[in-house]
């Protein structure tokens, strides 16, 4: 009975200040959407980095092919520097054969070229622990010092760009997280304050009728909780809608096909919901403590 009375009182509160309730929920929802959007982008960038890390190979071009006795020595030098998944020596002929396979029907382009126009090379596939940007730089600098090495290539530019982008998005995630904290707490706090002010006469009458603290405070507390739950739920639903739309419209593009985009993991969704609800409830508690005199 007590729960029912308190719930009906909460419903009455919500309906009496419906306009401001909707505004608050919309603001919380927008904050959650902004935060979770950037969080989603950040997580996918990280995942992309890891996926691309699997394809990373460093190619060391040589001015001449190493001899059969030199090969194990070079490989040992490389493996001594850091963990490596594989080291593959490619002769001029193998390089040409590979190019020939790549060109497919256009292989006649190679017809007039000398069979040894491609340099011999060593393809090094660094282990996962070596794919961090700074370690890759160090590794490539080391590989450049190998005997007969003329040039080292590993797609440095895009790795650097990806790393900078990830850093930027991480910063935005922090900022939007701050925005979420501020809006959820202060908006809900202001709405509850408004509820307290608009219902001042009613609260005074309730006080005179002997209403206990639970009867007066719990509906206000629940109001914050509901705002948090509905606001964050709506925000996450919008994000999911946006994600599905993007997937539906861009998944056919060949560049994006290489990568798999994923929605926020269940744990992250629950965490965002719980934190938003906690922040909104905190907002209502602040107002109850500050403005409600019983």
């Amino acid at each position: 009975m007590k729960t029912r009375s308190i719930l009906s009182q909460t419903a009455r509160n919500l309906s009496q200040t419906l306009g401001s309730q909707i505004m608050t929920m919309a603001t919380v929802s927008l904050s959650v959407l902004i935060f979770s959007f950037f969080f989603l982008v950040f997580l996918n960038l990280q995942r992309t980095g890891i996926q691309l890390g699997e394809y990373i190979k460093i190619i060391v071009y040589l001015d001449e092919e190493p001899t059969a006795t030199e090969k194990p020595l070079i490989e040992k030098q490389i493996r001594d520097f850091g963990p490596v998944d594989s080291v593959v020596f490619k002769s001029r002929a193998e390089a040409l054969a590979q190019l020939d396979r790549h060109l497919g029907p256009d292989r006649d382009l190679l017809a007039d070229l000398s069979p040894d126009f491609l340099p011999p090379s060593i393809e090094v596939h660094p282990a996962r622990s070596l794919t961090a940007l700074t370690r890759l730089k160090e590794f490539s600098d080391f590989l450049a010092t190998l005997p007969k090495a003329t040039k080292v290539q590993y797609g440095r530019e895009w790795i650097e760009r990806l790393a900078s982008l990830t850093q930027l998005v991480r910063l935005i995630v922090y900022l939007s997280g701050g925005l979420l904290v501020l809006t959820s707490t202060f908006m809900v706090s202001s709405t509850i304050r408004l509820t307290v002010v608009t219902r001042q006469a009613e609260l005074e009458v309730l006080r005179l009728l002997g209403a206990d603290s639970a009867y007066i405070k719990t509906p206000l507390f629940l109001e914050g909780l509901i705002q948090g739950a509905c606001g964050s739920g709506a925000g996450l639903l919008c994000l999911y809608g946006l994600f599905t739309w993007v997937q539906g419209h861009f998944s056919g593009h060949s560049a994006l096909n290489m990568l798999t985009f994923a929605f926020l993991p269940g744990e992250a969704v629950i965490l965002i919901l719980v934190v938003s609800i906690a922040l909104c409830t905190l907002g209502s508690l602040i107002s109850i403590r500050k403005f409600l005199r019983i």
Binding site: M1, K2, R4, S5, Q9, A201, E202, E204, V205, L206, L208, L209, G210, A211, D212, S213, Y215, I294
Partner: protein, 246 residues
């Protein structure tokens, strides 16, 4: 509030004074007791201190001097939780009604039962009974601010009576009522009194307590001018508008 044994008064005023800042003396050196189930009429002219006295009983105001005890609680030392519990056992009809203008008549009457978590059906039945008793059934769902003063007064009385309170305070309960509706209200009070409710009624309407044997205290300028104990009927007042014989 448990029904206290007859020997311990439900209300005990001991040398109570109330002074509003800076130096407006509302009540001066008031002492009286009310036994459980008793009825007390507080009379006097406007400004005599009747409302102040009711405010002290309902702990809306605190005494400047003296001790006010209600149901065994010294109201100066009562804890907030005890005060809430005490107020849930009191029905108060305020002179300015203190109703919620944007809520319906039924919702206003239901409030004391809502705060005591009374089951919905019980609330509905009691509200219907009170509306019927006070001839307000046709106004059940009407917003309070659409009612006349007299109707609002009856709603305030219905709200005060809603929870079968052991103690009911009524400040000028018939001030805006005609003879017919005054009788409805006094009949309701009589019903409550018979059920054991202690009634404290502040009024300047002599006809309410004339020919009754209830305790009557007359206030004048914050002091007790006269006190007629229970079981001593007062002569009936002349009817308003009655012509005096030459």
């Amino acid at each position: 509030m448990d029904r206290t044994p007859p020997q311990s008064p439900i209300i005990d005023f001991s040398k109570v004074s109330k002074i509003y800042p800076p130096d407006v003396i509302a009540l001066r050196d008031i002492s009286f007791t009310v036994q459980p189930g008793g009825t007390l009429f507080i009379t006097g002219m406007s400004g005599a201190g009747k409302s102040s006295l009711l405010k002290l009983i309902s702990a809306i105001e605190r005494p400047s001097q003296g001790v006010v005890t209600v149901a065994g609680h010294d109201l100066d030392k009562i804890s907030p939780a005890q005060l809430q519990a005490l107020r849930r056992q009191m029905g108060v009809s305020f002179q300015d009604f203190k109703l919620l203008p944007k809520q319906s008549v039924a919702d206003n009457i239901a409030m004391p039962m809502e705060v005591t978590y009374t089951p919905k059906k019980t609330i509905r039945d009691r509200v219907n009974y009170l509306l019927d008793t006070l001839h307000l059934s046709h106004k059940r769902e009407v917003r309070l601010d659409k009612l006349s003063r007299g109707e609002q007064q009856r709603v305030a009385i219905a709200r005060a009576a809603a929870n079968y309170p052991p103690l009911l305070l009524a400040d000028e309960p018939t001030g805006n009522l005609d003879q017919t509706t005054t009788k409805l209200v006094m009949d309701l009070f009589e019903q409550l009194r018979r059920a054991g409710t202690t009634l404290i009624i502040a009024t300047h309407d002599h006809s309410l307590y004339a020919n009754t044997s209830h305790h009557v205290i007359e206030l004048a300028q914050g002091r007790i001018k006269s006190s007629r104990p229970a079981n001593e009927p007062t002569p009936a007042a002349p009817k308003p508008g009655a012509m005096k014989k030459p």
